[in-house]
Symmetry: C2
Subunit: 136 residues, 2 copies
DNA sequence: CGGTCATATGAACAGTTCTTCACAGGAACA
DNA sequence: TGTTCCTGTGAAGAACTGTTCATATGACCG
């Protein structure tokens, strides 16, 4: 949290914008992940940013389910469910096991599972603190 | 919240979707968070799903930074930075401290910080596995 | 075989999102 | 005081997203 906050108005590698704390800027920039990693991470978060997909993935936390059951649990239409699963499959977040005409989906990404567990724990925690629903 | 397994038979002949594993559907449904919590959680993930905002938040992991420095670090224009910070502020993810004409932003959500730490750890981990590219 | 069932897919469309541009406000500073 | 600097904001437009409808595929049943 400490910063040697003198105003060093040094141009940073031909950048047009001014810099206030050049040391911190340099340090933070050096710690910034590579662009591809950032985009991949943002993509994962994006997959979790839709309530339907989130329900889908939370439903899979306990084990595999077929598409029609997932449709019932999530409240999505079967088509929407299939589209969502396709997206998740394309990103290797879920995997599918086929048995006859059924398709059983399961979580296939330990990282996403951790994110889901964390999110779930947080909602339970905040529910314990605020038993009444809060608007904001 | 409460759906028992006896709905299977009626659902099979009913108008809507059929259920394969009624017990699992009931169990998973009962564990599904409330709609408002789901939407809130999805919103948080949505805030992390943009590479620009992600860079912004990662830059703030170490402490506060002013808007122009954030703009430099993230590569966003100052206007885009301000818009993004406004969004994050509206969701209480960041907080601002004003000093003169400067505005210093900081992370203000422990939950988001955990998510960011986890994401960062994951990218570092995968980088350790695939050390193909390096950052300056 | 024909029919039905579970899932998959494509097109299209409403709604959202992210960026840029233009400008406004308030603080510092001459 | 007037000017410059840092930040904030609204509008607009391009790009993206998520849903539905219609239809396809392939497995099972009779």
């Amino acid at each position: 949290m400490n910063s040697s906050s003198q105003e060093q108005v040094t141009a940073l590698e031909g950048c047009a914008t001014r810099v206030v704390d050049a040391d911190r800027v340099a340090a933070v920039s050096s710690r910034m992940p590579a662009e591809t990693d950032l985009v991949d991470t943002a993509d994962i978060f994006g997959l979790l940013s839709d309530p339907g997909r989130l329900r889908l993935l939370l439903a899979l936390l306990d084990g595999e389910l077929c598409v029609c059951d997932l449709s019932v649990v999530t409240g999505l239409s079967e088509s929407a469910t299939s589209h969502a699963l396709r997206l998740l499959r394309a990103h290797r977040v879920v995997a599918v096991r086929r048995a006859g005409r059924m398709a059983y989906y399961r979580l296939d990404d330990a990282h996403v599972r951790m994110l889901l567990d964390l999110a779930l724990a947080h909602t339970e925690h905040t529910q314990a603190i605020h038993p009444e629903r809060r608007d904001s």
